[in-house]
């Protein structure tokens, strides 16, 4: 199949970017990123600069791939990262518009590559359990109900891709932050420092320039891991109780 691509090209964070048009020949078995590989090979053969995009595992788990495809982060399929998207979902003659994730807290590095270190800093602010190596009791001394383990796992399955931010009209990082807070807050090991954790992570989120949550829930719809907006409500509750009467 022949496809028309409109791709955002931007040399670096200091220069202005714009869309460029390309055509590429693809097959239905290819993954979306393999289709871009083909385009890049073509560009290199023509001695042009290939399109910079990020990827690594190519199986939906590392959270590296990040692009907006026809207006949707990670493209049209639900619960699917860009690297898991296959070309059998497109047809001959389609036009595909490809842009980077856009948010103030995710500045563009080049073309489709953005800087998501702000997510790291949110985790550094409190997304951990304060236990050092060697301090742990026997694993089975902490009994955890199957359902609790399952809930914690669901929240922990966030891959840190940032699609929630890209999908949100306010570029809010609430889904990402609340997933981490919920993962740790559910478990007995993590409950102890939940109040402090939530306070600090939220403060960092604001400091990074992520927007406020106005409950549009675009994040949940685009999240490739199905992270639930219920976590946002949960974190809000934790946050307000943490703000009552404590400081740090």
């Amino acid at each position: 199949m022949k496809l028309k691509l409109k791709i955002w090209r931007q040399k670096n964070s200091d220069t202005k970017g714009g869309f460029h048009n390309y055509t590429v020949e693809a097959t239905p078995e290819m993954s979306f990123l393999e289709m871009l590989d083909v385009l890049n090979q073509q560009l290199i053969e023509d001695k042009e600069e290939p399109v910079a995009f990020e990827h690594d595992c190519r199986e939906g788990i590392c959270g590296t791939c990040s692009m907006v495809i026809n207006g949707q982060p990670h493209g049209p399929m639900a619960l699917t990262t860009t690297c898991q998207l296959h070309m059998r979902h497109y047809k001959d003659g389609d036009t595909i518009v490809i842009e980077p994730f856009r948010a103030n807290a995710f500045p563009v590095i080049k073309d489709l590559v953005v800087d998501r270190e702000s997510f790291d800093r949110i985790i550094q602010a409190g997304g951990f359990v304060s236990v050092s190596t060697g301090q742990a009791p026997d694993g089975n001394s902490i009994l955890i109900e199957q359902d609790v383990a399952r809930e914690a796992f669901d929240a922990a399955s966030c891959i840190g891709c940032g699609a929630c931010v890209a999908a949100c009209p306010n570029a809010s990082a609430m889904l990402f932050t609340s997933a981490k807070a919920t993962h740790l807050g559910y478990l007995p090991q993590g409950k102890v420092e939940q109040a402090k954790r939530v306070r600090r992570m939220v403060a960092q989120m604001d400091k990074e320039g992520f927007g406020n949550c106005s409950n549009t829930y675009a994040c949940e719809a685009e999240c490739p891991k199905g992270i639930s907006v219920e976590y946002i409500a949960k974190m809000n509750r934790d946050y307000f109780s943490a703000m009552v009467g404590s400081e740090d």
């Binding site: 290819m30 083909v38 939906g60 790291d120 997304g127 190596t133 922990a156």
Partner: protein, 666 residues
């Protein structure tokens, strides 16, 4: 000749590590604050090491070429992590885990290291639980286990099919905590391109800031490499796209030795190749072999009809299916170790019984598991267990709960639904047992340069058992290196910090700059990727699942020719001082060429078959691997000498606690 000293502590096997810990030189807390450590790589091994060392009080600088430590390739591990907890009361013990690992490795690993690994395995689970890793639980709230290939106990801990992700996030969070406390300086998007030696010891690195493209110098009292494996030398593998050998290879160029490079693991259950544009292969976790049955049709006419699309696998009658693993290996059946399962798949495909267009695929079938589980569920809930529709429905649910995410991955890629039609699978390159030679302290032959995780060679011999890499990475990082590094650093408590203005740093930086600019200046006609693909295919053909002397010699020559063309005809777009992924790849592929050649040299010299290394000349009448313990019970540690022949240094393997036997899974 370099004298290899593995520095194995004296005393009985079970006491070595305890004795070592109580006698190793320690560094006092006030001195730790003055000592700097560079940790390159923040996967399971690197992140756990960086966090633990920082907790101890050392000043740590950690580096990753990824945009965040959470993206390391460890994230992709699916199946689980082993530990000798014996929570199932099924006869597991530290000794049994040790024994299984040595046997599984086909008796080509070092007893003392493996025993230590088995000992600390139990602490790893505790540590991870405390960090909040959401392992699977039983109804009563205790930790759940499952079994993996090559063993007869259930010792694998797991978090659905995303164990690596959860463990890495645990280590990443521990690391993040140390970053926030100011004990670790984190350098994301920095690629190490050289080790800097001062007076023969590793005292720093040259790294390229991948955003600005500028070269930067970093000094420390010692350097730790947790930079992962080199499976991507084959281009197509289950590894993440950016995995590479360059950090380890740069160490080799500075005098470290590469051990057993030809020991590569081919995983039997991966989604088969579907086209020439393909960029990577996707693993279907080994845990699937707990419940899936592997088969191909018995009759060639069925194979033909399947390939022509005239028949579906579900049309093949039970008696016309060859469950070849169960037939050949009744004791272990579908759970034979990976090397055995992979070769058996190759064998039936070589016979022409492969079940897809390319002839390179076998079935992994869940029909029986679905029905078995379904019956049990019906029984348990007082339903009609003769109603096959109901049973299938119930069984599907059970299988979904166990493997749902893997089935989903499979369906996304192939468009087939594995609940109704068997999966098609084929072996693919997955893991590298070979790596930097290290002694008991995990130190390479360059003093002050340590290697941990998949980057070293130490624990898996010629074949790694499932769920043991995560265990090793975390053992090295959390529980071994924090002790053994003291052995080196305790002698450095009076050594002040090193300046990066030293001549050694300047020269190393210039060398890196020249290397990169010469790649940029070739300005030929072929892309880096086209070379990488060709190199990978060449290695797969001549140094892949089975090897022979003639092929290895021919392969080496072809590889040399290709390398020559690379330096004449590669085209690397862009410039050095900018974000330039093509330049990153070009430098990595250049190193893969040299490593690939060394793999062939190693495979050619090892005149035996063991584990993942199968030499066609050395097999039993039944086609099983034929080891030669008399002549090859040693580690080959290679000294690379650019244009001259590499030199082999041998570390003899002494087995005092296990008897060397023919590995039989029959």
């Amino acid at each position: 000749m370099i004298q290899l000293d593995a520095k194995i502590p004296k005393g009985p096997l079970a006491d070595k590590w305890t004795r070592y810990k109580s006698s190793v030189d320690l560094v006092a807390p006030n001195n730790k604050r003055k000592l700097e450590i560079i940790v390159v790589g923040t996967g399971l091994a690197g992140a756990s090491a960086a966090a633990s060392l920082a907790e101890l009080g050392y000043k740590v600088k950690a580096f990753t070429f990824h945009d965040s430590p959470r993206r390391a390739h460890s994230i992709a591990a699916q199946g689980g992590i082993n530990a000798a907890k014996n929570y199932q009361n099924d006869g597991d013990s530290v000794y049994r885990l040790f024994y299984d690992t040595v046997k599984g490795g086909d008796y080509r690993s070092r007893e003392s290291n493996v025993h230590r690994l088995a000992e600390v395995s139990v602490n790893i689970i505790d540590q991870c639980v405390a960090q909040g890793v959401p392992f699977a639980r039983e109804y009563g709230g205790t930790l759940a286990n499952r079994s993996f290939g090559g063993v007869q106990v259930s010792r694998t801990f797991y978090a659905r099919g995303q164990t690596g992700q959860q463990l890495l996030i645990g280590a990443y969070q521990a690391l993040s905590r140390q970053v926030s406390l100011g004990n670790v300086e984190m350098y994301n998007r920095h690629e190490m391109l050289d080790v800097v030696k001062v007076d023969g010891k590793a005292r720093g690195i040259i790294a390229r800031n991948l955003v600005s493209g500028k070269l930067e110098r970093f000094a420390a009292h010692c350097v730790v490499l947790g930079t992962g494996g080199y499976g991507n030398v084959y281009y197509l593998s289950t590894n993440a796209m950016n995995c590479n050998v360059s950090a380890a290879w740069r160490a080799v160029k500075r005098g470290a030795l590469m051990a057993n490079p030809c020991f590569c693991q081919i995983h039997p259950t991966c989604i088969p190749v579907s086209g020439t544009y393909q960029s990577k292969l996707t693993l279907m976790s080994e845990s699937l072999r707990n419940d899936g049955r592997v088969w191909v049709p018995k009759k060639m006419e069925d194979v033909e009809s399947i390939r022509q699309g005239k028949k579906k696998p579900t049309d093949i009658a039970e008696q016309d299916r060859d469950y070849y693993l169960e037939r050949k290996y009744p004791a272990f059946g579908n759970l034979v170790p990976r090397d055995v399962a992979s070769r058996a798949a190759k064998e039936v495909c070589d016979e022409g019984r492969g079940v897809n267009k390319t002839g390179l695929a076998v079935y992994l079938d869940f029909k029986d598991a679905i029905m078995r589980y379904g019956k049990a569920e019906a029984h348990a809930n007082g339903m009609d267990y003769n109603d096959s529709v109901l049973v299938r429905k119930l069984g599907t649910k059970v299988v979904e709960a166990k493997y749902g995410n893997l089935f989903e991955i499979y369906e996304k890629i192939t468009g087939d639904n594995p609940y109704v039609t068997p999966m098609r699978i084929y072996p693919a390159i997955h893991y590298t047992m070979g790596g930097l030679w290290v002694d008991y302290n995990l130190e390479t032959t360059i003093p002050g340069l340590f290697a941990i995780g998949e980057a070293n060679f130490s624990d898996h011999g010629a074949n790694r058992l499932g769920a043991s890499a995560l265990m090793q990475g975390l053992a090295d990082g959390y529980f071994v290196l924090p002790y053994t590094i003291g052995h080196f650093l305790s002698k450095d408590i009076r050594t002040p910090s090193f300046s990066t203005d030293l001549e050694e740093f300047r020269t190393a930086e210039d060398e890196v700059r020249n290397r990169l600019s010469s790649l940029l200046n070739i300005k030929g006609d072929r892309s880096v990727e086209s070379f990488h693909r060709e190199l990978g295919l060449l290695l797969w053909d001549y140094c892949g699942m089975s090897r022979n002397a003639e092929g290895l010699k021919k392969g080496r020559q072809l590889l040399k020719n290709l390398k020559e063309e690379y330096y004449k005809n590669v085209f690397v777009p862009g410039e050095m001082e900018e974000f330039n992924p093509e330049l990153e790849k070009a430098a990595r592929v250049a190193d893969f060429f040299e490593l690939g050649e060394l793999m062939m040299v190693d495979a050619l010299h090892r005149n035996e078959s063991c584990g993942g290394h199968f030499r066609e000349e050395y097999q039993t009448e039944e086609g099983e691997a034929l080891r030669d313990d008399e002549n090859y019970a040693y580690v080959s540690a290679w000294e690379w000498r650019d244009e001259e022949e590499p030199i082999e240094h041998k570390e003899p393997l002494v087995f005092e606690n296990v008897e060397l036997k023919t590995r039989s899974y029959k």
